[in-house]
Symmetry: C3
Subunit: 270 residues, 3 copies
């Protein structure tokens, strides 16, 4: 390992839980010195490529240029989906399955190049199995990339699979969207960008399933809402969020990722 060059951080994002992730760390420990591994999360809902893609972009895009991000949300492992690595415009690298999970982050950072990972050119090809590419393929490839290996060493150029989460449909008085993510507080993060809500909005009608929630308050902080009352605000993800301060909106209504809803704001009064 060259003495002077500072090695990059390697981040881990999976739906595997900690015990499988630990097996990836064992492999990575052969490539980078202590300290270079960062757990982002191992608690993605199993197999939810959509939620993983959303969270990955939010978690990883602000890491320093040059970071190597490994992603294992990979229900198709061992099947027809390709393993890939994407080099982004800032010199970061994303390593994972080509099932769309990497795309929103890659697009947000800018794609410079992508290759299909050829197991035969990976570290210890005889150990590449069919059920855990995270340990057998992504980890050793990421480790070698962190130490300076060229992307082209691992396989031929490929066009990565694109995936965008559903965009909301906007009108002048509202938007039709869906739930992209439910956080630990039970807050519902939608796909409606906060900036589409007029800054002068004060009350918002929400239709969800067959229910109407009329004139919910649009606030700027949780504390502005009475405890236990539902309201909307601009989340830290940049999207409209439905929240029940000190409560749990998801549990109260048994909300699920993917559910549709419509919001409508009162016309701004002048």
């Amino acid at each position: 390992m060259p003495a002077r060059r500072r090695l990059p951080w390697i981040t881990l994002t999976t739906d595997l839980g900690s015990a499988y992730a630990a097996q990836m760390k064992a492999v990575l420990a052969h490539f980078v010195p202590p300290g270079h591994l960062v757990d982002l999360t191992h608690e993605i809902a199993p197999h939810r490529i959509d939620e993983a893609a959303f969270l990955l972009r939010a978690m990883a895009r602000d890491f320093p240029a040059g970071t190597v991000h490994i992603v294992v949300v990979d229900p198709g492992v061992g099947g027809r989906r390709h393993p890939i690595a994407i080099r982004t415009s800032d010199g970061s690298t994303l390593v994972g399955p080509d099932n769309g999970v990497l795309w929103p982050l890659a697009r947000s950072l800018g794609v410079r190049r992508a290759v299909r990972l050829d197991p035969a050119r990976s570290y210890r090809p005889e150990r590449v199995g069919t059920t855990f590419d995270g340990r057998d393929l992504f980890a050793p490839v990421a480790g070698r990339i962190a130490r300076g290996a060229r992307l082209a060493a691992f396989g031929p150029t490929i066009e990565p699979r694109r995936y965008e989460w559903p965009t909301c449909i906007r009108s002048s008085t509202g938007a039709l969207g869906q739930i992209l993510h439910i956080d630990r507080f039970g807050n519902l993060i939608t796909n409606i960008p906060t900036e589409v809500v007029p800054t002068r909005a004060q009350r918002i009608d929400v239709r969800w399933r067959r229910r109407s929630f009329a004139r919910l308050p649009w606030v700027t902080s949780y504390e502005s809402l009475p405890s236990g009352k539902i309201g909307l605000l601009g989340s830290s993800f940049g999207y409209v969020e439905i929240a029940v301060p000190q409560g749990n909106a998801a549990r109260r209504w048994r909300a699920r990722v993917g559910e549709r809803l419509s919001v409508k704001w009162s016309p701004a009064r002048r």
Copy 2:
């Protein structure tokens, strides 16, 4: 970054779950080299300032002098509570909301100085939102402090908000207390200091809700109790604990943090 100076550890304690915490790590990665971030926990019960204050003191007080501790249990984010940083007597720094969560640790280490964090003097003020100060304010401030910034750079001196967990009421034969924390094994940690229990105590009566548990054994290790039998012992936190070895006391009685109970020991026989 100065070449010689060893940078301190930065610890993270939140009720956010791993995905939000990951966004804080992305910011911190711009300030400290790999390895300096340590997850304490991201699984504090949502918004439980009391339990967080208790655990924080237990988790953080033995870190080396100079450590920077970030705490995000912050239901009042974006509201009237101030963001603060506290420098302790050993040169450690606590960064978080001024809602009391920092106080027991700060008091235990000794308070040297505290400042209110002025968002306008933080890193990239334009990015400071109203729902996630952990990422937008505490992380960059902590990163700069880790690299040597002076506390006074971030805002005016402030008197931090004090918070003490309820102290138990002692008598010569017992104590009236409450449950401060429930651990992963379902053990109930109370606010009754272990040292108030006479060393010769052998049996303890517990009254809890409207139930009486008469003459429970007072032991020094879990193994001294028959499997599945309730007993009391001095926890590693320094407080009396109610435990069911190989069982789960919290689940069996649906115990909750904050519940009151009284304990009474048999007079020491001579």
Copy 3:
């Protein structure tokens, strides 16, 4: 700390949850510089020595030679079981309770020497309590070992307690085994080595409780199974696994670690 010598990684495997583990990190931070601590998992099922022994071997055996592994799955803490440290053939060290949890990993790496940890020779003996050896004994001992202390400094040589998970009973057409581990996807990992299943096997009969699952497909990847259909494959642990792709086998049948089952493959047709 010698300037040139690179210190080893220290890994943590517990059933404690993150908050207790954090207290161990505080102690370890006095011995090693930032970055040397790696969480393997803190989510072992409470007190499950058998599952912990299985996962520990899978997680830890591929770490670089010289790594120090701390394990706290320790229902007998404070009782008669000894605290121990095992030096393995590759120079790694395992520190934890002598209840068998270390044995499968130790045997797989090769045992060079083992000592019983004498609390009186540990770091700050006055702080060694009876309920949390992970923090009070294993962490400081591991920290000193990471910095080069000799094993013999901590206590007399001991023969560590052996523990093997139940081996399966093989016949020419099948095997009788049990469930060793249930992963986050609800997949059931058995103790039947994958290599005992003939490579030409295509269908497998499973008997489990009083049910028969006839002619289940034996596949090489999850994707080969129709979504929601039960099947078997060789897991990444090297053992036969029962899986329901996009589903959750454990939840569907309320499976538990330790349950027995028999598998029988169709005679290979030539």
